[in-house]
């Protein structure tokens, strides 16, 4: 995030910081602290992929995600193929427990690339971003199991994320939402063969099942979403804009997923079926840490007009030790306070909270 330099002066930073620290905070675009920027989404935009989505943010950032699946032979960690096992099971020795075997599923079956215009694909920031998203996806261990076909074959999933506009703000939430939608619309060809045979598939695309089944008993977890939350003073702000990030005391990427538990039919409350689970949380280095500090007008040479070399040395010492001074910008230091962490988690997970709101929004998107 280092290269997300904002061109704000220390005074402007200080002003922003102050207004965001108010309770309730005053955000530059007038949003409430938990409000998201409006966005437009559609799925199934790339006909050649197994699943795809596009999301546009109101500020003009736009991302496309395409998912492609390829079949691959599972190679045993010890080097051998699961061939002997097949030979055993084919000769009638019993097929073994599929659930047990599914545990063999491995996270490396998912490959994820992120492309951001203007950045190299091996840029540390991009790689970190990709890893962040990948980690969230694989965190619950359910995802890799979906790629398991039988003991000899699995799907390899290529998830390609492309930001097609310049990165106007830190694109994590955008990419995460787009990925979520793309995975929801992903379908894999319907398997026709049984057991450990070489897989054969139905050639009818319409018959292919969704990676995340829509409804019914099979509907388990949903793909996770990762939200970016910043703390400024005591305020907690969701979906920060570029400017807000520039003054954040700390930034957190919070990944959570929705688990749909199977409920008895009589309880017809659809909403209560949603259960949120925190999957991962990572602090992100906010760009505010690299901002140059403001100089109090007392120490401002241009203002006082005098130059005293001894006083300059003193001033430097002073600046480090000095308590933050109201109205003078100083890059934040240190980690996130527990209280802040706690309130972030609360705000995310509470019923009717931010996550609920976002998921409701995502649910409204037509999947094609």
């Amino acid at each position: 995030m280092a290269n997300q330099q904002t061109l704000l002066s220390p005074a402007e930073l200080a002003y922003l910081h102050t207004s965001l620290s108010l309770s309730p905070p005053i955000r530059p675009d007038g949003r409430t602290s938990k409000q998201f920027r409006p966005l437009t989404a559609e799925t199934g935009i790339l006909p050649g992929t197994n699943g795809s989505a596009r999301v546009c943010l109101a500020d003009g950032t736009e991302a496309i995600v395409g998912v492609k699946a390829e079949i691959e032979k599972t190679v045993d960690l010890l080097g051998g193929e699961h061939y002997q096992e097949y030979v055993k099971s084919a000769s009638g020795a019993g097929g073994g427990d599929a659930e047990e075997d599914r545990r063999q599923a491995r996270g490396e079956w998912l490959e994820m690339t992120v492309e951001i215009p203007g950045l190299r694909d091996d840029d540390a920031g991009t790689v970190f971003l990709a890893e962040l998203l990948r980690e969230a996806l694989l965190a619950d261990g359910e995802f890799a199991k979906k790629l398991w076909i039988n003991r000899r074959f699995h799907w390899r999933l290529y998830l390609d994320i492309i930001l097609i506009s310049p990165p106007l703000s830190y694109p994590l939430p955008l990419l995460s939402l787009t990925t979520h939608l793309a995975l929801l619309s992903t379908r894999l060809p319907r398997l026709k063969s049984e057991g450990d045979e070489d897989p054969m598939f139905d050639d009818d695309w319409e018959a292919s099942p969704f990676l995340y089944p829509r409804q019914g008993a099979a509907a388990g977890s949903r793909p996770p979403i990762t939200l970016l939350v910043v703390a400024v003073g005591d305020s907690i702000l969701f979906d920060p804009s570029k400017e807000e990030l520039a003054v954040a005391d700390s930034a957190l990427a919070v990944s959570l997923c929705e688990v749909r538990t199977q409920k008895a039919d009589e309880s017809m409350e659809v909403d209560s079926g949603r259960e949120l689970r925190l999957v991962s949380m990572r602090t992100v280095d906010p760009p505010s840490r690299l901002t140059p500090p403001g100089v109090p007008s007392t120490g401002n040479l241009a203002a006082s007009g005098t130059f005293d070399p001894s006083s300059q040395k003193k001033q430097q010492q002073q600046r480090v030790e000095e308590f933050p001074q109201e109205g003078v910008w100083k890059a934040p230091l240190g980690g996130t306070r527990f209280a802040v962490l706690d309130s972030i988690i609360q705000a995310v997970l509470e019923k009717g909270g931010v996550a609920d709101e976002v998921l409701d929004g995502l649910e409204g998107v037509d999947l094609s």
């Binding site: 084919a90 000769s91 060809p189 045979e197 070489d198 054969m200 319409e206 409204g364 094609s368």
Partner: protein, 986 residues
């Protein structure tokens, strides 16, 4: 959050574009989602001659011509549609009743929708090919309408709709559009557009939409000869309406594995795939040759054969070792064992009937006795079918299954059809016309063989005529061997030279026909052929050169001058592959005009030829060889006998005769060299049927006589073939058309070698063709000159068959022709009757720079396909020829009884096979025919001796000379006439 939803047809431009999405699994195991865009058009014509609009809009080719419209202005009407009608069959209708559509009495003006054509292609490729053939025939007026590309008839698949439902809807949409479209023509009588379907749901929906729709049965029953046609609807269809099946029946055959399970198994080496072959002597024993084992796997018993029919590509699973057996030594014929089965009832308990069980039981007993001798062969069971190679089968109804009492009722009867080919199981038919079909040769198709049906179920295609009439029997054997015997279509005849029989070699040498042609008209060329030969492929000449060497020329009819690559005639010839010679009939590969006139190197006229000229020294070694296109004038066409007489006649001292003597002298040297190199002289019983010229009824049978002149021609043809092979291989190392004869695997000779060793103390050495040739020469019996021929005949059967191939597919050492002991070989000398020779001609012409290489002669893929086809055709032609001879031998013997010498070729535990040299036929003598009740017998497999006890006690050994009484016999039960042999004395 806003959700964007693009509407599918938001703008005008989107109207003519759509897409198709499907999953494709590639051979290498990749699975891809494929999206294809479909561009919809509005100018695809309806092709009805009523329609003016379409005619004006129809797409035109570069010459600004539209394709002629197909559908008639005044199509035939039926009771329901007196105004005339066009038919639109759906896929099921075609699957169930393709034979109906091929009728010449009805089913004209048919619209084949693209949807249906594609679906049919996926479901059954052979049927698809037949349909494509139909759409090409001009008089049937079948039109393929590309409904999936026309905007009005394209339908989008709706969510949740199955592919089948969508296709059915597409068919209905097309029918609807046709109806509305034709109404616009304002013709006086607008034909009805009738959908033919067997899908009730589809029919109902069509009627709801107000379309004309009819089931096959309803439609056919309105036709004039509906009764007859009804029999041609596939059995599966009538089953749906309460046919054979009773619901509660349990399946009697094991279920097949799923396709993926078979595929995995075959890949893993657990299962084996191969072509299923049935033993000609035992219908319950099959074998399958798989790459994993040197010997073929045995498949014994009905349950293990599991509904496979001879020729199917099947997947088998090995049985445990304790179930391995040796091949049967017993003759088991289906018609004798299952004689009294009733076609109507299916009795569950006798799935493996007691008789079958008993037959197998004896097998096991015998095997166990002989075990330890390591003669056991691995056995297997069929677990799945990769590809059915069902064809149409010829046979006749088993009269014992026909219920005679009910013949007046016109009710559906179930009968068994006994196929001519003994390897094919009985086929169950349902027909309304049993009484008419009894005693006729019938052509049937197998529709299905379900798990709960003991026999395959089929339906009648047509009747070929009375049993034993020449027309019916000839057609039957042509059909059995898949010989294309229909007259040449017009497109082929259009490729012939316009001058017809008046075609002549151009007088002026400036004519393009003379380009690069050598004028060899001065040479004293003659041809030597069998008497009465009309298609003279080859002619020869020889003369002494001033330097003491000989110049020898082989002149082959220049067929490639008349048959240009890739035109209709060439395509037809490549499909036919070879001319088929029957006793009384010849089915030509090329039209008569070419074969017997323009190409034929007839005497006294000038003809184009392709010439090979050698300069040979005294030892018949090649000094020089060259190839050229030429013009020749043959001086005389001899028969073998005439040529022999002329050579032997010392008074003839003209140059032509001298040339022939030179040829004979050189040919003997060539033959000697060939024999020294290890060429085999093999035998097959060759006989000739003499016909009375007018009635063309056979009057006598003779074995063919071989004269020196036969071998004269043969030697030079071989010589030419070898020279040409070397030349075209040099020019086209990847694509030369060659012929190879693989060395037989040693195991093939095991049995014969063992038999010779035990019975005669002779050694058969098989390490090389030379060793084999030498050891065969030693197999003589002083008392019996025929013994050597017998051994040669049996050795021939152990060989591999020679095959055409494309040089790029094999490595050079594999090119070897085992039988001729030649490193490289091809066929060049009979282009009139073999397609391979025609290809060799084109390649040679290109090799000597006479003409440019045509792409079809260069493309390896195409050449491989052609080779595969001509290999099959070649074999079939031989088989058809033999079958024809066998039939005529039977006819020649009709009403006669002859006592003949015969030799025992094969011994079973309950009978033996003898060969009668005089007629060149083999016959089976069963023990049960010797005496009644069947004499008790003992078979000693180690010494190949069969001894019977009781009042008629005999001892039969392998190679023994016996005397048999040969007479023709009509089996009362099957109505089949065949040669019957009885043992007179052993």
């Amino acid at each position: 959050m806003t959700s964007l939803k693009r509407t599918q047809r938001s703008d005008q431009a989107a109207l003519n574009i759509s897409n198709k999405v499907y999953v494709r699994s590639t051979r290498s195991g990749k699975v891809q989602k494929i999206v294809r865009e479909v561009y919809l058009r509005t100018d695809i014509p309806c092709s009805s001659n009523l329609c003016r609009t379409c005619l004006s809009q129809a797409p035109r080719n570069a010459a600004n011509e539209a394709l002629p419209f197909v559908l008639s202005e005044r199509p035939a009407g039926t009771r329901s549609f007196p105004q005339g009608h066009y038919l639109v069959p759906d896929t099921n209708a075609l699957l169930n009743a393709m034979d109906l559509f091929e009728q010449s009495s009805s089913f004209y003006d048919v619209i084949i929708l693209q949807t249906v054509l594609e679906e049919l292609k996926n479901r059954s490729f052979p049927l698809y090919n037949r349909l494509v053939g139909l759409t090409k025939s001009e008089d049937k007026r079948f039109y393929v309408f590309f409904n999936e590309f026309r905007q009005e008839t394209y339908v989008n698949r709706e969510t949740g709709e199955s592919v089948n439902d969508r296709n059915d809807r597409a068919v209905r949409q097309a029918v609807k559009w046709y109806g509305e479209h034709l109404a616009l023509t304002k013709a006086a009588k607008i034909p009805a557009v009738v959908m033919l379907s067997d899908d009730r749901d589809n029919l109902r929906k069509a009627r709801e939409q107000g379309l004309h729709a009819s089931s096959l049965r309803d439609y056919v029953s309105e036709l004039e000869d509906g009764e007859r046609l009804l029999d041609m609807i596939a059995e599966s269809q009538s089953q749906a309406q309460g046919g054979f099946k009773q619901a509660s029946q349990q399946p009697i055959y094991p279920e097949y594995y799923t396709a993926s399970r078979m595929m995995t198994g075959v890949k893993a080496g657990l299962l084996h795939q191969g072509i299923f072959n049935v033993s000609p002597y035992n219908y319950l024993e099959g074998s399958i040759k798989v790459p994993a084992f040197p010997k073929s796997l045995l498949i014994l018993g009905r349950e293990n054969i599991n509904r496979a029919i001879d020729g199917d590509v099947v997947v088998v699973e090995l049985l445990p070792q304790d179930q391995w057996k040796s091949p049967s030594t017993k003759i088991i014929e289906e018609d004798t064992i299952t004689k009294n089965e009733n076609a109507d009832t299916e009795e569950r308990q006798d799935f493996v009937s007691d008789k079958e069980r008993k037959a197998l039981q004896e097998e096991v007993k015998r095997t166990q006795k002989a075990s330890g001798e390591n003669q056991l062969q691995p056995t297997a069971k069929v677990v799945g079918i990769v590809k059915r190679n069902w064809r149409q089968y010829v046979g006749h109804i088993d009269p014992s299954t026909a219920n005679k009492g009910s013949s007046q009722g016109r009710k559906l009867d179930s009968v068994f059809l006994i196929p001519m080919d003994k390897k094919i199981p009985k086929i169950r038919l349902r027909t309304r016309q049993v009484s008419e079909l009894l005693g006729k040769r019938l052509l049937v198709t197998v529709d299905s063989w379900d798990r709960d049906s003991r026999h395959p179920v089929g339906h009648l295609v047509r009747s070929l005529g009375e049993l034993e009439t020449k027309a019916a029997e000839t057609e039957a054997l042509l059909l059995e061997w898949d010989v294309q015997y229909r007259p040449f279509p017009k497109t082929v005849l259009d490729c012939l030279p316009k001058e017809g029989h008046d075609w002549k070699v151009p007088a002026s040498k400036e004519d393009p026909g003379w380009r690069d042609r050598e004028d060899l008209r001065e040479l004293l060329i003659c041809s030597i052929d069998p008497p009465g030969c009309q298609d003279i492929d080859d002619a020869l000449h020889a003369r002494l050169l001033p330097n003491g060497n000989y110049e020898v020329g082989v002149h082959i009819a220049d067929v490639s001058n008349f048959v240009k690559p890739a035109n209709a005639m060439d395509t037809e010839a490549s499909i036919r592959g070879t001319t088929v010679y029957l006793v009384d009939k010849r089915i030509d590969m090329l039209p008569m005009l070419l074969g017997t006139d323009l190409c034929s190197l007839k005497p006294y006229v000038e003809r184009f030829a392709f010439t090979v000229i050698w300069e040979l020294n005294e030892n018949a070694d090649i000094v020089n060889v060259r190839f050229t296109k030429s013009v020749i004038a043959s001086r005389e066409a001899f028969s073998y006998e005439q040529a022999q007489l002329r050579i032997d006649d010392k008074s003839q001292q003209d140059d032509l005769t001298k040339g022939m003597r030179m040829l004979l002298m050189l040919s003997k040297k060539l033959k000697k060299k060939r024999m020294d190199a290890g060429a085999l002289s093999l035998s097959s019983p060759e006989i000739k049927v003499h016909m009375e010229s007018e009635s063309s009824d056979p009057i006598d049978v003779k074995t063919k006589e071989l004269l020196d002149t036969n071998s004269l021609v043969e030697e030079f043809m071989l010589f030419a073939n070898v020279s040409v092979a070397a030349k075209i291989y040099e020019a086209f190392p990847q694509t030369a058309i060659l012929r190879r004869h693989a060395a037989p695997p040693k195991t093939n000779f095991d049995e014969l070698a063992d038999q010779l060793r035990i019975k005669r103390g002779l050694e058969l050495r098989t390490d090389s063709s030379k060793a084999l040739a030498d050891s065969l020469d030693k197999c003589v019996d002083d008392k019996d000159s025929f013994f050597n021929t017998l051994v040669r005949i049996m050795a021939t059967r152990c060989m591999m068959s020679a095959e055409y191939f494309c040089s790029g597919t094999q490595s050079y050492p594999e090119f070897r022709h085992y039988g001729l002991a030649s490193e490289i070989y091809t066929h060049f000398t009979s282009p009139i009757r073999r397609y391979a020779d025609l290809l060799a001609h084109r390649q040679l012409a290109a090799a000597i720079g006479y003409e440019a290489v045509h792409p079809s002669v260069r493309s390896r893929g195409r050449l491989e396909a052609v080779c595969k086809n001509i290999n099959v055709r070649h074999r079939n032609a031989q088989m058809a020829g033999r079958a024809s001879i066998a039939y005529y031998v039977g006819q020649a013997l009709k009403g006669k009884v002859a006592e003949e010498e015969a030799f025992v070729m094969k011994i079973f535990s309950n009978g033996f096979v003898v060969l009668v040299p005089r007629f060149g036929i083999e016959g089976l003598i069963r023990l049960r025919d010797l005496a009644d009740p069947e004499p008790e017998s003992e078979y000693d497999a180690e010494t190949y001796t069969l001894t019977t006890k009781g009042e008629k006690s005999i001892k039969v050994e392998l190679f023994q000379k016996v005397v048999v009484r040969v007479h023709d016999d009509k089996d009362e039960r099957t109505g089949k006439r065949g040669v019957k042999m009885e043992l007179v004395s052993a």
